[in-house]
Symmetry: C2
């Protein structure tokens, strides 16, 4: 296994609602493949939204309800951007799970839940540099 994660899929109970949420967050749905699924190019990875029933049929797995114990983080380049993203999530129909505050590791962060209740951390961690292309690196 090479060190990469290709696709992060959110199994959703309402595909249209989930698409609406992520589009309202400013993401651009892939226009080419739209039949019962939604894809978003996220830098060098892909975010997929897939109806839970279809995901369960495809995998043979019954997935747990939200909030999922596999959760995502969006790291920002500033404290202010954390506040902006959390405000955008609330406006888009998400829920603030933990308002922005100071982290013990020195940064500024909070959590929101998406339209299905899955959790994203939003964090400004100066120790984890973000390149111009959005890729993030662990410290040397």
């Amino acid at each position: 296994m090479e060190p990469r994660i290709s696709i992060i899929t959110v199994a959703t109970d309402d595909l249209d609602r989930a698409v609406g949420f992520y589009e309202a967050m400013g993401l651009k749905r892939h226009a080419g493949i739209t039949d019962g699924v939604a894809f978003f190019q996220m830098g060098g990875a892909i975010l997929g939204l897939f109806p839970r029933a279809d995901a369960e049929k495809d995998s043979g797995v019954t997935f747990a309800a939200a909030p999922s114990a596999v959760y995502l983080a969006y790291n920002t380049r500033s404290d202010a951007e954390v506040d902006e993203v959390l405000a955008a999530a609330e406006k888009a129909g998400g829920r603030i799970v933990k308002p922005a505050g100071r982290a013990f590791w020195g940064g500024w962060y909070g959590y929101f839940a998406d339209a299905d209740g899955h959790v994203w951390e939003v964090a400004h961690n100066p120790a984890f540099p973000i390149a111009e292309d959005g890729t993030i690196s662990l410290p040397d």
Copy 2:
């Protein structure tokens, strides 16, 4: 929100076991930050392993049990590599959830569960090109 996912965290019930699984898959744990957490640089993103109790304390959220409805995919450059990764997952202490087979979309794919029971899809999808650096792209 720019199109990126910075960190994918797996909340685990047994950090050492989870680290052992992902190391056995060939991933290299970040040596710098190891106190109660494990990080793996995954190309331009980061995989984090974090004890469930700590994740719940930090976020104020009670996460659902595995298998999580947010799930990951590792895309390969060949059908044979799918078989190899699934075999490696089983050898590493994971579980084959769905053996490799032909997909309706033309590729070759299967699913495994990690040491906590969280699901990864392993797929060769020729329509989603993988660059030399491991980044994946949706078709034009």
